[in-house]
């Protein structure tokens, strides 16, 4: 048993925390040598060997951290928290106690040095930013020259060696055992500070700690721990701004890291939030406990925080460093000479612009969310129902169909689920991720062809902001913007040398398969780019072995959207929207023609395959949209391919030789190719059109006052109406379910019985065949009618009717409320039933209920056809749709295949980065 301290000295209990893999013996020996002897020593954890060592020294063994509080002697003033792989100098505890008492501090931490490197600093306390990110101010490998040797208050100290007042530790409920070391220290320090305690670092107390400590590794658990600490300590008013701003900062940082070639920070962020959200109940519990002892506001925490985001600052610093290296010609030897040439041209400025442009080009999406227009629509509020519809349930778009919605609906629903049921957040995250992935993917492919990073950026800018992309995304084709993200990653798999060993080969195919599946999920015809583009790429690069990769990832991509492949309405999707024309008409053929000629004649032999691929993709993709009678879906996918082709042409132009004639020509062509991106940047919507529909139908829910609002029939031009439309003559129309056009409604299924009847009803309305058109429209569940500005075909009819009351919404929208009975489901007795997202519910009765959806025999119970609609028994008080077992099986299968592909891609990831 250690000797008793002098009576005037505070009693100390040392707690040694053991984690498997640590060598405890040295720590225990170091404890024995302390000049200030602890009153008692508790050792937490450890196996048989450790117990023997503990017992031999007369120390007490404790099973878990949670038991420590109960074992602390009441007479003890302080607890010295020490990791079992930490070796304190003999005077470490003495210094801690002396300074803690002298400074009236409740928490005091030691200076931590790296074991084996006598003078290398590991920690001398640290500050954080507002989002919990630590900022030590230490450079990697910084030596201890006593430059930090002053006792001072800090945001947090490392729990590797930390002295804490016993009563405070008890009041705080001890250390959070779920957190790794650094995050645990931050959490305890912050809680102690808001409880009124002073947190100091005592540099004269030195401890040595193994650099590869298992409990102190950086990673997503540390980040998750910091997020948790933030949620526990901050007051609600602080969380209200810290959480959204922190999320944006994380996204920006992840974007930056991706451009630096690192995907892990993004995954780490996602994993952290999943971990934190999964433990929210315990956060609430800790917040309640802290509230009882809170003495100060969050200002006390802010005092020890640095401004801005530490992560962004570090990422920005690294990007600047890399750029500097590139400017100095420090890239690897293969391209170093070329880089020198390139950076003498205006392309250097373009490369810088690439990063800033992405941030600027998406600012509106970050700040205001995804603009609602065209096919740029947010997922619905009920993602589970959408996923069930995708898995063979009733697809309620338009007047409904038993066929699954396009996979983008499921993608949106999954994203919504992943972000905690927030469609707005899901839409923004998907958009920003797609843009980042698209930019990074194109840069990656470009780099594989041997062009500079700057040229890769230019390729990315042209791919996502060139004339083709601006035209495509500007027409509201958000699904194609999402497809633009993973598409280059699928093609990158074709560019990657096929690894020799099986594991890596599987990994390559799986990675490409995931990218192909995501591309197909966003817009299925884009899978054609993977197939055709991949084949051409393999041939152009002279790599016939890659043909197998193309085949594999194409099949995997198709398997990823199996439910839609099995049961979807392919032709309906292909005909959903016209191909927007790049204006002026001559711009694209002239620019691409000129770019191809310039690049072909001036690039080296090594770049010629990419010029060929880019030229053929840019011209061929554009041609697809020009072919009469070809379903426009091919043309839309073609335009995306054209955009990518133009991007690669641009990147190869930067690799053009030094012919006098070509310098000027390539510069001019490059400017023309890149210029449209300026429009995207100015607008700040990622190339998407302006928001038209996010609040336009708010009146529907406002007037409905919580009752099922029914359907809205919208008339206008196809460009103005959200999603797919049908047309009668020059007037387009579509049904919108409820008060917001949603992603799962974007694509209308093929024409069925009810759709024909609706078209006839619209003809009758226009012809003013009845002065009660509301009666006819009510049979389709249409409660609201909206006529967009510029649509005059119905004017005469709408002034000759008595049951569609005009609503004074705004001068820009003519809206009418149907005064006749309108409900999606009505019983024989006139009782209305409500749509639940998967079926209908209402009061049970002995009669039947007629549902205004396209007739299908899989409705239950006791289905019968009622003209074009469905009639079922009202006895159960609900009507439900029996899922198509084939589609359902395909859904489960594709989910399994996707999960397997992700696992395989991770498992076999080693080989995919080979040059």
């Amino acid at each position: 048993m250690p000797d008793q301290p002098a009576p005037e000295q505070p009693l100390i209990v040392a707690v040694v925390l053991f984690t498997p893999g640590m060598q405890i013996e040295e720590t225990l020996s170091a404890l024995d040598k302390q000049v200030y002897k602890p009153d008692s020593v508790l050792v937490v954890g450890g196996g048989e060997n450790e117990r023997e060592l503990i017992a031999a020294r007369g120390y007490v063994h404790v099973g878990s951290v949670g038991e420590v509080l109960g074992k602390l002697a009441e007479s003890a003033s302080f607890v010295w928290w020490l990791h079992a792989d930490t070796r304190p100098r003999p005077d470490a505890l003495s210094a801690l106690v002396t300074e803690a008492v002298r400074n009236d501090a409740s928490v005091a931490g030691s200076k931590v040095l790296v074991a084996g490197w006598e003078d290398q600093l590991h920690s001398v306390g640290a500050a954080t930013d507002a989002f919990g990110e630590p900022y030590s101010g230490l450079d990697p490998g910084e030596l201890d020259l006593e430059q930090y040797d002053v006792v001072r208050e800090v945001a947090f100290v490392s729990p590797l060696s930390m002295l804490i007042r016993r009563d405070l530790l008890r009041g705080l409920g001890g250390l959070d055992a779920s957190l790794p070391a650094q995050a645990g220290g931050l959490d305890l320090s912050q809680r102690a500070r808001v409880a009124g305690a002073k947190v100091i670092v005592v540099p004269s107390s030195e401890v040595f700690h193994a650099d590869a400590c298992p409990s102190d590794r950086p990673g997503w658990r540390q980040r998750a721990g910091r997020y948790r600490a933030m949620l526990v300590s901050y007051q609600l008013i602080t969380l209200a701004w810290v959480l959204p701003v922190g999320l944006l900062a994380s996204l920006a940082d992840s974007a930056g890291q991706i451009t630096l070639g690192r995907l892990r920070p993004l995954i780490s962020d996602l994993a952290s939030w999943v971990w934190v959200l999964g433990r929210l109940p315990s956060v609430f519990k800790m917040r309640r406990a802290l509230r009882r002892i809170r003495e100060t506001g969050d200002e006390e925490l802010f005092r020890f925080q640095v401004r801005g985001s530490v992560r962004l600052r570090e990422t920005g610093a690294e990007m600047g460093e890399r750029l500097s290296r590139a400017l100095e010609g420090g890239e690897d030897d293969v391209i170093s000479e070329r880089a020198k040439v390139v950076w003498k041209r205006p392309s250097a400025i373009l490369a810088l612009t690439g990063v800033v442009a992405l941030l600027l080009a998406t600012r509106s999406i970050w700040l205001s969310g995804l603009p609602q227009s065209g096919f740029s629509l947010l997922p619905g509020e009920d993602p589970v129902s959408t996923l069930l519809a995708y898995a063979g349930g009733w697809n309620a778009s338009g007047l409904g169909t038993p066929n699954p919605p396009p996979p983008i609906a499921a993608l949106g629903a999954l994203a919504t689920l992943l972000v905690g049921g927030k469609p707005e957040l899901a839409g923004s995250v998907l958009t920003v991720l797609a843009l980042i992935a698209g930019l990074a993917g194109v840069i990656r492919i470009s780099r594989r062809t041997g062009v500079t990073l700057a040229a890769g950026y230019v390729a990315g800018v042209v791919y996502l902001g060139g004339a083709a992309a601006t035209t495509l995304f500007g027409s509201g084709q958000w699904p194609l913007l999402l497809a633009a993200g993973p598409l280059p990653w699928a093609l990158d798999a074709v560019m990657t040398p096929v690894p020799v060993d099986g594991r890596r080969r599987f990994g390559l195919a799986a990675r490409g398969g995931v990218a192909a599946a995501l591309t197909a999920a966003a817009y299925p015809p884009a899978l054609g780019i993977v197939v055709v583009g991949g084949l051409l790429l393999a041939l152009a690069m002279g790599r016939p072995r890659a043909l197998g990769v193309v085949g594999a990832i194409s099949v995997l991509g198709a398997l990823g959207i199996a439910p839609w492949v099995v049961g979807g309405e392919v032709m309906a999707l292909l005909g959903a929207a016209p191909v927007p024309a790049i204006q002026p008409f001559w711009f694209w053929p002239a620019t691409i023609g000129l770019a191809t000629v310039a690049a072909t004649l001036s690039v080296s032999k090594a770049h010629l395959p990419m010029v060929a691929w880019g030229g053929v993709a840019a011209s061929g993709g554009w041609l697809l949209g020009m072919i009469p009678d070809l379903p426009p879906g091919f043309g839309l996918a073609g335009l995306l391919a054209a955009s990518m082709g133009a991007g690669f042409l641009a990147s190869t132009l930067l690799a053009a030789g030094e012919h006098r004639w070509s310098r000027w020509l390539t510069t001019v062509v490059l400017i023309v190719l890149v210029a449209p991106a300026a429009l995207t940047i100015v607008r700040g919507r990622g190339g998407l059109p302006s928001d038209e529909w996010s609040r336009r139908l708010d009146f529907v829910s406002a007037i409905s006052e919580g009752v099922d609002p029914g359907r809205v029939l919208v008339f206008g031009s196809p460009e103005e109406i959200p999603g797919q439309t049908r047309a009668v003559g020059s007037v387009a129309y579509r049904l919108i379910d409820g008060d917001r056009p949603t992603l799962e409604q974007a694509y209308l299924p093929g024409v069925r019985l009810g759709d024909g009847a609706l078209e006839q009803a619209i003809f009758n309305l226009a012809a003013a065949d009845s002065i009660r058109p509301g009666v006819a429209l009510g049979q389709f569940g249409i409660t609201w009618l909206v006529v967009l500005p510029g649509t005059t075909a119905l004017n005469d009819a709408l002034i000759r009717q008595v049951d569609l009351s005009p609503l004074l919404i705004d001068s820009d929208l003519r809206a009418f409320e149907n005064r006749s009975l309108s409900a999606r489901a009505v019983t024989d007795e006139g009782e209305t039933w409500s749509w639940t997202g998967r079926g209908y519910e209402g009061s049970p009765s002995s009669g039947r209920v007629v549902m205004a959806d396209n007739a299908d025999p899989d409705w239950s119970p006791e289905w019968a056809q009622a003209d074009w609609a469905n009639s079922v028994s009202a006895a159960e008080g609900r009507a439900y749709f029996r899922a198509n077992p084939t589609v359902q099986g395909a859904a489960y299968g594709s989910g399994l295949v996707l999960a397997l592909m992700v696992v395989l891609a991770w498992w076999g990831r080693g080989g995919v980065t080979a040059k």
């Binding site: 016209p578 691409i592 003559g729 012809a767 065949d769 002065i771 009351s805």
Partner: protein
């Protein structure tokens, strides 16, 4: 290598050229939306129910399908009529609502013809049910001298608000009070505008109604000592026909221009021998009215035809003794519907048929309810037949002939008379 470079250029240029020569696929727009028709509805702006008046609605539906009747402004006051026989039905408007002036509207599939007979023991009036119009219409024959009083009635049964501009003309010339120049008629309501005080002392007034937005059906109610006359607004036409029966010779022919230009008018008379002879002609300015005594145009029964080079509205106004009646002219046709009649207690219903054809013809009258049988009438060219109808329970008759005819009808009750043109359907 040069060959490969050339190949790349040729391939790309060839593809781009292909795109230039192909046109963007034209969107298939399918069948265009049809223009809005008049719609299967009628508004009866001049029905008088309550305040001592009984109003009977007579309806004819050529498809004999059910017809919904609704009181304007009282949407819950609605009923469904089931036509019988040839497609006729009658309805007591007081069963829906008794608002004094109680405009109603009818709707249902098929071609509808309807009129109302409103009466008290001392007064009777007939009023046709009409479509609301967005084109200029006119009301004739209003007066505010002595015991005379006139009220305008604007009915908007539809869901959208309507607004109109009025241009009143009297013997004094343009006579529109500034506060009556523009009137708004909210959706699903009717608005009454009394003229007696604001325009007192006028002997002959007409009003042109110009719709600014929405659609409106209008009528005027002219009250005398005991009798009264209801007149519905009509759009302008270039030709109007009147059968001038005996009592009509004491009335006046009113013309109101609703055209934009100065026009010429000409009045021809068709005598009992079928001879057509011009009896009056002149110029009529836009917005002007012309009043001609019928006795100056004809001395015996026969027909009158008013022709103009610009659209006019023409009507016959009776104001002798207690009698007050206003009737528009009509077109010509071979099939006519008299939709409503008086019962034995209301008075005697008379049908006047003018043969406008070149030769003699037989006119068949068939009760819309199918019963009783009415004897056919032989009619020489230019001749007018006056056919008293038997008691049809208020129902109407179908009038058919091989010749072009003009048909009017009236209810005579003591010193009160209501007259109206029948409706041509073929």
């Amino acid at each position: 290598m040069t060959r490969i470079r050339l190949l790349v250029i040729i391939a790309v240029v060839a593809i781009l050229s292909g795109g230039v020569f192909l046109s963007n696929p034209a969107e298939s727009t399918g069948e265009e939306l049809p223009p809005a028709g008049d719609g299967p509805y009628l508004v009866c702006p001049g029905a008088l129910a309550g305040g001592g008046f009984q109003a009977r609605l007579g309806v004819y539906n050529d498809e004999a399908l059910p017809i919904r009747i609704t009181a304007v402004g009282v949407p819950e006051a609605t009923a469904v009529l089931e036509p019988v026989g040839l497609g006729g039905a009658t309805f007591n408007i007081g069963d829906l609502a008794e608002l004094g002036t109680t405009p109603v509207y009818l709707d249902g599939p098929g071609n509808l013809v309807a009129a109302t007979f409103s009466g008290t023991p001392q007064a009777s009036t007939l009023s046709s049910c009409i479509r609301a119009e967005s084109v200029p219409t006119a009301l004739l024959g209003m007066a505010t001298t002595g015991d005379e009083g006139s009220t305008l009635q604007f009915v908007n049964p539809f869901a959208q608000d309507a607004s109109i501009r009025l241009e009143i003309v009297s013997e004094l010339g343009a006579d529109t009070p500034s506060d009556l120049e523009a009137i708004r008629i909210p959706a699903g309501t009717h608005v009454e505008v009394p003229l007696t005080r604001v325009l007192s002392g006028r002997e002959a007034m007409s009003v042109q109604i110009q719709t600014v937005s929405g659609m409106v059906a209008a009528a005027s109610v002219r009250t005398g000592d005991t009798d009264l006359a209801v007149n519905e607004a009509r759009p302008g036409a270039l030709e109007w026909h009147f059968p001038l029966f005996g009592g009509a010779l004491g009335g006046e022919i009113h013309l109101r221009s609703v055209g934009d230009l100065i026009g010429d008018y000409r009045i021809d008379r068709i005598d009992q021998t079928g001879t057509v002879e011009g009896v009056s002609e002149g110029a009529i300015n836009p917005g002007e009215q012309v009043v001609l005594p019928a006795s100056e145009l004809m001395t015996d029964r026969g027909g009158l035809r008013v022709a103009a080079t610009e659209p006019v509205v023409a009507g016959l106004v009776l104001q002798t003794g207690n009698i007050r009646s206003v009737m528009h002219g009509g077109s010509i046709g071979s099939r006519w519907v008299v939709p409503v009649s008086a019962t034995a207690g209301d008075g005697q219903t008379m049908v006047w048929i003018l043969n406008m054809g070149a030769g003699p013809g037989t006119v068949a009258l068939t009760a819309l309810g199918g019963e009783p049988e009415i004897l056919p009438v032989e009619l020489p060219p230019g001749a007018i037949a006056e056919v008293p109808l038997p008691d049809l329970g208020g129902g109407g008759v179908l009038v058919e002939s091989g010749q072009q005819i003009v048909v009017a009808f009236g209810v005579v009750q003591g010193e009160a008379i209501g007259i109206s043109m029948a409706t041509v359907i073929g």
